[in-house]
Amino acid sequence: MGFGDYPVEYNPQKHGPYDPARFYGKQDIPLAQVKLGELGAWFGRRNKSPNAMVAAISRAFWRWQHKYVQPKRVGVAPFFQVVVGSSILFYILNYDRITSHRNYKYH
């Protein structure tokens, strides 16, 4: 799979029009239904290559897009989600500098 190509498993004849939010590989049981004892095996079955990680992030992004951004009549929700999400992210990134503004010595 080169840069910008469709996933290897994607077959237009079989799957229909390409959906960027859909995982075309072999389906595993969802993480929420995995028993604690089988968690190691479940993680062992995951594809941990950088390609697969980027693809997973991309699918999540498109899922969010389809749900909150692409519908016909969207509200202001996706904008607030981006604002809140980015402020949390930058809070975490700047956490070391922010902690120097602590007001109390003892908690």
């Binding site: 799957h15 929700a77 989600q81 922010i98 902690t99 007001n103």
Partner: protein, 249 residues
């Protein structure tokens, strides 16, 4: 003219072939898509979703539903409140100047959404509707254009049949012309032959008349030549005697 008729017949056949092929491909394509979507559960076509439900402007409803089974309706609020109390009291979340700035910004944002939201939403919805309507209209126009093309094609094909009838009539006309020409030529041949035959008969008649005349002249000449003076004298005497008899009577 006949070659043109042939050409038009070929064209009409080609058009008919083209039409049958176009319908055949579209039919097979429809069949293929039906089987694909019908038989394979993996064949999915994404449909546009309704926007996800949110509370307080941006928090997904699913997060509240996740709490609902375990803690009831107030669970998520309790969780958020206690968690923020913990974070603030331990100063894991630091209330520095950015926090108060953020509060004022949030108040401005919420107020803006509350005040201008409905108007902006109405205007945007109207624009969305217009946009969608323009696409639907465009699609409808395309459909109308195609169906008009089909109607025109049908009309052209039926007029092509009329052309065939016309060509039939023209062929009959040509046949009539040929027949008339044939008869005229027959008449010419007849007249020519008749003329020649009349010439021949006339020639023969003339020759016979000349021959007869010559013969008669020859015979008369011979007879004249054979008449002796005695005979002439006797003849005249005889004539005079006859005249005398006649005068007597």
């Amino acid at each position: 003219m006949l070659s043109r008729a042939l050409l038009s017949a070929q064209q009409s056949r080609a058009l008919a072939l083209l039409g049958s092929r176009a319908t055949a491909t579209s039919a097979s394509h429809a069949a293929a898509s039906q089987t694909n979507e019908g038989d394979l559960p993996e064949f999915r076509r994404r449909v546009r979703e309704e926007p996800g439900k949110v509370r307080m402007g941006f928090i997904p409803e699913e997060w509240f539903q996740f709490f609902y089974n375990k803690t009831g309706v107030t669970g998520p609020y309790t969780f958020a409140f206690t968690l923020s109390t913990y974070l603030v009291s331990k100063e894991i979340y630091v209330l520095e100047h950015e926090f108060y700035n953020g509060i004022s910004l949030a108040i401005i944002c919420v107020a803006g959404v509350k005040i201008f939201g409905p108007k902006v939403a109405a205007a945007l919805d109207r624009e969305v509707d217009e946009f969608e309507k323009s696409w639907v209209q465009n699609r409808q126009n395309q459909k109308d254009y195609c169906s008009e093309g089909i109607e025109l094609e049908k009309k052209l094909q039926s007029s092509m049949e009329a052309q065939n009838m016309l060509i039939q009539a023209k062929r009959e006309n040509v046949a009539l012309q040929l027949e008339a020409n044939y008869r005229q030529r027959l008449m010419t041949v007849f007249n020519e032959v008749k003329k020649r035959l009349e010439y021949q008969t006339e020639k023969q008649n003339i020759e016979r008349r000349i021959a007869q005349k010559n013969l008669v002249e020859w015979v008369v000449a011979k007879v004249k030549a054979s008449i002796t003076p005695d005979q002439e004298k006797q003849n005249i005497d005889r004539c005079i005697a006859d005249l005398a008899n006649l005068s007597k009577a």
